[in-house]
Amino acid sequence: MRPLIEVRGLRKDYRRGGDVLHAVDGIDLALMPGESVGIIGESGAGKSTLARCITRLERPTSGSVFFQGTDVTGLSDRALRRFRREVQPVFQDPLAALNPRWTVRRLITEPLKIHGERGAERRVDEVLRDVGLAEELMARRPRDLSGGQRQRVAIARAIVLRPSVLVLDEPTASVDMSARRALLTLLKRLRSAHGLTYLYISHDIRTIEETCSRTIVMYRGRLAEEGPTTEVLDSPGHVYTQILMSSIPRIDNATARQGRLRARPASGQQLPDTGCLFAHRCPRALPECAADPPVVQVTPGHRAACVLAERTSGPQ
């Protein structure tokens, strides 16, 4: 089976004054049809930049993005029209992602208009029902809706053209607690009902754990670990992933917390640019970490870019 989306050696640099920021620093990934893949990492890991490169809202500095085998890396917006029907982003803050002056109806109808689809009204009604929005909300503007409703509008807009891939960047981050669960349920239902493929970005490990079968861990633009979600979260190979997992609030007793793995505090100095980028904060760093870390196959399908990751025979 061919990957729906394939990313090879993706790099995206930003120039700020004299400095160059390697927001995405050599990422490879493959998204199979029907999969739900999560990307976790802290702020500054490059997850959103990666998402924008994959949806081609930005042009990568180097590397390639393939969709169904076609190289879409260098294509102009006009040439990407077909791609745009198939791969849709869902942004973190729907208030910013929806034109504040447009009504809900206009927002959801626009993609259909742009691509010259007939039967727009029927399709819009269909999609509204699909995401669970009441008909009465059609005439309102985004700022008159609740956070959860806004995000549903954003999702409706994303699926109205029947795409095959959704790239979701922290879709529940701007939504109130009470609406978060409903939104996650909606996303799961949409995925199974329409056979969608998800690339789900979040800093919240719990959400990823619930929605994604495969997980990628990013740190400062590079891939730290990748594998089936259960394995990556239960038996992490990379020290950074281990620290992430041990930082999640737990309800068991305090003594277990004493043994918690912690990152070394970040100093105000310049961040290192070579070797393992996490080494300067790693509590188990070794002299070898000054060199580029090897990619260890912990198990087939689970790899970690860490000297300390061990090859095992299977999930523990």
Binding site: R52, T55, L57, D77, R78, L80, R81, R84, R85, Q88, P89, F91, D93, A96, A97, L98, N99, P100, R101, E110, P111, I114, H115, G132, L133, A134, E136, L137, D144, S146, G147, G148, Q149, A154, R157, L161, D176, S178, A179, A182
Partner: protein, 300 residues
């Protein structure tokens, strides 16, 4: 320690549909109360426009009719604003002239707004060398004080109403352009622009439907104020003898014609046209204030 279990609905308050708001006339009244500048500006502007139209359509007296027998009559029952040195009724002339100036002011504002925002949109959104060239031109034009620039252009082009409008418009366009461009630069980076591109919107569609409406606010305020300033500039140019010429009863021309008579005590020939200019400018200033208030209200 209250346990308020009653009334909790595990359903979705999220999906509640808020009730409809107040009706239109109620909203207008509320708006007037919240923004006194709308009230004042609206009344003034309405008065100005009504008066100006009346002055054109049905002036009490022919503004151009010369009547040497009644020259230099002070304000009184027959002539509320008196008569000028040719016996013309100043009141009619002021009304008529107000109409001319208001129309010119609005025309300049509209033109400057149209040209400036279109250019600012293109320059700001497309960036690159287009932006560089446009901004250099803008910098050059803006290095001249607007009035002097308009003066120079009007002198070169010749003394007609049309040329005066062109001259003042050229002086004003860069300000609107810069303002629009700034807003466009901000709007360009917004997520909803990304969202529009993501669903396949073409560049021109993104620019006109998404960026422009959200970037044009400050320029609308500016254009409203500019209508008033244009009246000042145009009447100033006419006062200097550039641009609009007598016998047109344009307000600046009237002030100029009445100037020599002030020292001999016939103040009404210049003062009333002057007051009319002030009235018109004030009206647009207040409207501009209101536009500014609304813009900020929308932004929050």
């Amino acid at each position: 320690m209250a346990l308020a279990g009653a009334g909790f609905d595990a359903g979705r308050p999220d999906d509640a549909v808020p009730a409809d708001g107040p009706g239109r006339s109620a909203r207008l009244r509320g708006e007037l109360r919240r923004h006194p500048s709308l009230l004042v500006g609206g009344v003034l502007a309405a008065a100005t426009v009504i008066v100006a139209i009346a002055g054109h359509v049905a002036p009490p007296d022919n503004p151009l009719a010369i009547n040497p027998g009644h020259a230099l009559a002070p304000p009184g029952p027959g002539h509320w604003f008196g008569t000028d040195q040719f016996g013309r009724d100043v009141f009619s002339r002021v009304l008529y002239g107000l109409g001319i100036d208001v129309v010119i002011g609005l025309t300049v504002a509209a033109l400057a707004f149209a040209v400036g925002s279109a250019a600012g949109l293109v320059s700001g959104y497309l960036g690159g060398w287009i932006d560089d060239i446009v901004m250099r031109v803008v910098d050059i034009v803006m290095s001249f004080p607007p009035f002097l620039l308009a003066l120079a252009i009007a002198v070169v082009l010749g003394n007609t109403v049309r040329n005066v409008i062109i001259a003042v418009t050229i002086a004003y366009v860069p300000y609107i352009l810069r303002l629009t461009r700034g807003s466009v630069l901000t709007a360009r980076g917004a997520d909803y622009v990304l969202g529009a591109r993501a669903v396949g919107a073409s560049r021109s569609r993104v620019m006109t439907l998404h960026v422009l409406p959200n970037a044009v606010g400050p320029s609308v305020v500016q254009a409203t104020l500019m209508a008033g300033w244009a009246i000042l500039d145009v009447s100033g140019l006419s006062f200097l003898g550039v641009g609009i010429q007598p016998p047109s009863p344009e307000l600046g021309v009237q002030v100029a014609q009445g100037a020599p008579y002030i020292t001999s005590g016939q103040w009404w020939i210049s003062v009333f046209p002057g007051l009319a200019i002030i009235l018109a400018v004030l009206a647009f200033n207040f409207l501009g204030d209101y536009a500014d208030d609304r813009l900020r209200g929308q932004g929050s």
